[in-house]
């Protein structure tokens, strides 16, 4: 507590100015609140990290955390790899019975969502080595077994691993729906919803099966023509927008087109000789006086050669 020489009644305590309250001054006045300094309080520095050991320890901690982060990422990738390998092993043995069971079909869809297209190719390859059709839900033998060694050049490399064109087509359908992004890099839980080919959908939506997942269309809605509601949704119409039925209907009514005939063909019509397609050009009084002195002006010869009918062009040049 230092006495401030200039203002002895003020005390400087801890960088703050306090009014030194003299007991004599406090008569009749309420006790004053100490005046706060307008200076900002500097934060005290934390444990000093200037020693080289502390700095090194800091760096080591940071590096350790970074290395751990990368290690976790790599381990996650390995776990996903193993998971996909396990899925391939399971699907290698499908189907266990000739008419595909609903359980197996839905299992197939749920396992295949995790795949990349290359993983599906690996599955087809493994199944072919095991002498089964490449499509997981088919129990037939592939072409390379039924046809022998000529299969590849007779049906092509893409179809040699399947029992028929249908199976090859179905497998291509599934492959096209898979995401190229590997499973460990996808956003949390964002795996594409895979729907099977039309023929197999009937397997999944079997009789009396109430629990159906989103990717399976109920049989009632299946039709060859697009739904009106679906089309409206695609167009972006909301319930508040105009009702399509009033504007767009199935019936088409031809609009009565009014036919136009030239005026001259109508009987009793008076057609002026100076009219251009029915338009009567007007000549201004002021312009008419100027046309007399126009001999030296550098108008186009064409304009001067034209007769009265080209009065408009004369006016344009002089303007």
């Amino acid at each position: 507590m230092a006495m401030n020489p200039t203002a002895p009644h003020l005390l400087v305590v801890d960088n703050k100015l306090h009014a030194h309250i003299k007991p004599s001054q406090s008569q009749g006045m309420a006790t004053r609140v100490p005046v706060k300094s307008i200076l900002k309080i500097q934060p005290k520095p934390t444990a000093p990290t200037t020693t080289p050991e502390a700095l090194q320890a800091e760096k080591d901690r940071h590096n350790y955390a970074l290395a751990l982060q990368h290690a976790h990422r790599i381990q996650d990738q390995k776990d996903w790899d193993l998971r996909i390998l396990h899925a391939i092993e399971v699907l290698l043995d499908y189907p266990s019975s000739t008419p595909v069971t609903v359980q197996e079909a839905s299992n197939f869809v749920s396992l295949v969502r995790l795949f990349q297209p290359s993983d599906l190719d690996a599955l087809v390859e493994e199944r072919v080595i095991d002498r089964k059709c490449g499509y997981a839900l088919c129990a037939n033998k592939p072409r390379c077994v039924t046809m022998g060694r000529e299969a590849e050049w007779r049906v092509g490399k893409g179809e040699a691993g399947f029992c028929s064109k249908v199976c090859a087509r179905k497998s291509m359908d599934v492959r096209a729906q898979l995401s190229v992004v590997p499973a460990w890099e996808r956003e949390a839980g964002y795996h594409p919803v895979v729907s099977l080919h039309g023929d197999d959908r009937a397997v999944i939506a079997g009789p009396g099966l109430n629990a159906m997942t989103v990717d399976q269309q109920p049989m009632a809605k299946k039709s060859n023509h697009a739904d009106d509601d679906d089309l409206a949704l695609e167009r972006g119409e909301k319930a508040t927008s105009f009702r399509p039925r009033q504007v767009m209907t199935d019936r088409i009514v031809e609009k009565a087109v009014p036919t136009y005939k030239p005026l001259s063909s109508v009987s009793g019509a008076v057609v002026s000789s100076t009219a251009i397609e029915g338009y009567e050009p007007k000549e201004h009084k002021a312009k008419r006086d100027m046309t007399a002195d126009d001999a030296e002006s550098d108008d186009d010869d064409d304009d001067e050669d034209e007769g009265d009918g080209a009065g408009v062009l004369d006016e344009v040049d002089e303007g």
Binding site: D81, L82, L85, I88, E89, L92, D119, A122, E125, E126, I129, D130
Partner: protein, 226 residues
């Protein structure tokens, strides 16, 4: 018939190379086993129809005490008497032209049942990439894959390939101390190098390479396996 004898002599060479490889690694195999002649091979493995069944070529071998010493890690305070990290090896020849997950899984199961430590799978064609993913999942059992055509000729017997010897952990420690080196400062050899695969090397091991030198007759170099 000519095709069969071709096949038979191919398999004879492959079997010889495989046995020599196991002998060079340090497993217990006799000299005449490793250098079996074509006539003996045909007598033993070719049946009446002239074909060789690859399943009959499979064999197993135990490690010698010297080899066990090379694979025993150094004693540490928590582990004063460590066990050697080596055991019986089983060599199998695949009869399928293409190798998939199922074949390698069956081989892995066989190794597991009989408690073999290492397995060598000799395939006619390279296995599928998804099948190769099984290998890291069955550790500590080690499974190595070789292609038949890679084993037709024993590369370590080639005149341009110097002699590679595996160092025991003590020798490695002594080497690093003598030259005051860190592991990373040694020259390196990759795990998928043909000679590294021949000797079945793992990460962290050091091989001593003795090659002929014009000036000094012989020169020893060392390589760290990564």
């Amino acid at each position: 018939m000519a095709g069969d004898s071709n096949e038979a002599s191919r398999l004879w060479r492959i079997l010889r190379t495989t046995k020599q490889m196991c002998y060079d690694r340090g497993y217990e195999l006799t000299e005449e086993e490793c250098n079996i002649s074509l006539a003996d091979f045909k007598a033993a493995y070719v049946d009446e129809s002239g074909t060789v069944h690859r399943q009959r070529l499979a064999f197993y071998a135990r490690p010698t005490p010297e080899m066990q010493k090379k694979y025993t890690p150094l004693p540490r305070p928590g582990n004063p008497d460590p066990a050697p990290d080596i055991g019986t090896i089983h060599v199998d020849f695949s009869s399928q032209p293409s190798v998939g997950i199922k074949d390698l899984k069956a081989f892995a199961q066989l190794l597991n049942e009989k408690n073999y430590h290492t397995g060598i799978f000799v395939a006619q064609a390279a296995p599928t990439s998804s099948a190769l993913k099984i290998i890291p999942s069955i550790l500590p059992t080690v499974m190595e894959i070789f292609k038949e055509e890679d084993l037709l000729v024993n590369i370590s017997r080639h005149e341009l390939v110097p002699k590679h010897t595996l160092l025991s952990p003590e020798d490695k420690k002594r080497l690093l101390e003598r030259y005051r080196l860190k592991e990373t400062q040694l020259p390196r050899i990759r795990m998928d190098d043909p000679m590294a695969r021949y000797l079945g090397l793992k990460r962290g091991q050091v091989v001593k390479i003795i090659r002929k030198s014009e000036t000094a007759g012989r020169y020893a170099s060392y390589r760290w396996v990564i």
